[in-house]
């Protein structure tokens, strides 16, 4: 339970970065931290005490395995996170080229 709570605390630090910071790179870093904490949370949900890694091998003393389903889903999620991060960073680089700043309050044309 304490581990879950620590994971949620990590999530809220990322949330604070996204909501409060004005620098675009800081916002992107906050998004990355949120993604890390969610991946870790899913893997924590599938952990089992005295389990072994979900790989079948000969002559294993421990028979119980940890849950492989969250691991498979998180594997997909990590790779998608890379794609999202690259896309967001490229948009930030483009904005820097156009406006010369990462400060979101100075980018007037983004206002609706």
């Amino acid at each position: 339970m304490i581990l879950y709570l620590l994971c949620i605390v990590l999530f809220s630090i990322g949330l604070y970065g996204v909501l409060r910071k004005r620098n675009l790179v800081k916002i992107i870093i906050g998004l990355g931290i949120i993604e890390y904490s969610m991946n870790l949370f899913f893997v924590l949900l599938g952990y089992r005490f005295q389990g072994r890694a979900p790989i079948d091998a000969q002559d294993q003393a421990i028979l119980t395995m940890v849950d492989p389903l969250p691991q498979a889903l998180v594997l997909t999620s990590i790779v998608i996170g890379l794609g999202v991060m690259a896309l967001v960073i490229s948009i930030a680089i483009r904005i820097y080229e156009k406006y010369g700043t990462f400060d979101i309050t100075k980018i007037k044309k983004l206002k609706g």
């Binding site: 339970m1 581990l3 879950y4 709570l5 620590l6 994971c7 949620i8 605390v9 990590l10 809220s12 949330l15 604070y16 970065g17 909501l19 409060r20 004005r22 620098n23 790179v25 870093i29 990355g32 931290i33 890390y36 991946n39 870790l40 893997v43 924590l44 949900l45 599938g46 952990y47 089992r48 005490f49 072994r52 890694a53 790989i55 079948d56 395995m65 940890v66 849950d67 492989p68 389903l69 691991q71 498979a72 998180v74 594997l75 997909t76 990590i78 790779v79 998608i80 890379l82 794609g83 690259a86 896309l87 960073i89 490229s90 948009i91 930030a92 700043t101 990462f102 400060d103 309050t105």
Partner: protein
């Protein structure tokens, strides 16, 4: 116990990454969070995830450093500092409250439900021939998920190429 220490280290590094002024130091601190996550995956008996996280983390660091190097931080004057901070903290407290309500309904740590995965565990090796059960799930039982992942990746590549493309020259009359 190791997991607690690793998670505390991750929280510490995340706070540094959010709060430090220099952008490059911030990127390096977030790299520390990612590598600690890689270690946590190893402790949680997920070696495939650890390998993938390592590769993805290195790529992310390269991309982030590309974005931040040689770019000076503009002087940010915080307007309405008190109001912004208080509203953000209030929102986070609300989020923590609901998260706590939800966490009480979850199974305890170390005792997963494993209702869905029971079938995979029994039939996995016989039906797919894969020794690694994560591979069996990701490439066989749930192959459409992986197809969707590949679609998302290629869409992201197309998006990056579109955004970072040099604009064409306008022809002079």
């Amino acid at each position: 116990m190791e997991l607690h220490i690793l998670l505390l280290f991750m929280i510490f590094a995340a706070i540094i990454a959010i709060e430090v002024k220099d952008l490059l130091s911030s990127v390096i601190a977030v790299g520390a969070v990612g590598f600690a996550l890689c270690l946590a995956f190893l402790i949680l008996k997920a070696p495939d995830l650890a390998i993938t996280q390592l590769v993805v983390e290195i790529l992310c660091l390269i991309i982030l450093i590309r974005a931040t190097i040689k770019r000076d931080l503009p002087l940010v004057i915080e307007g309405r500092w008190v109001f912004n901070t208080i509203s953000t903290l209030a929102f986070i407290c609300l989020f923590l409250f609901f998260a706590w309500l939800a966490l009480r309904e979850l199974p305890r740590f170390g005792e997963p439900i494993m209702a869905v995965v029971k079938k995979y565990l029994q039939e996995g090796e016989g039906r797919t021939g894969a020794v690694n059960l994560v591979t069996a799930i990701i490439l066989d039982f749930r192959a459409y998920d992986t197809l969707g992942e590949a679609t998302v990746l290629f869409t992201s590549v197309i998006g990056i190429m579109t955004v970072l493309r040099r604009p064409g020259r306008i022809k002079k009359k």
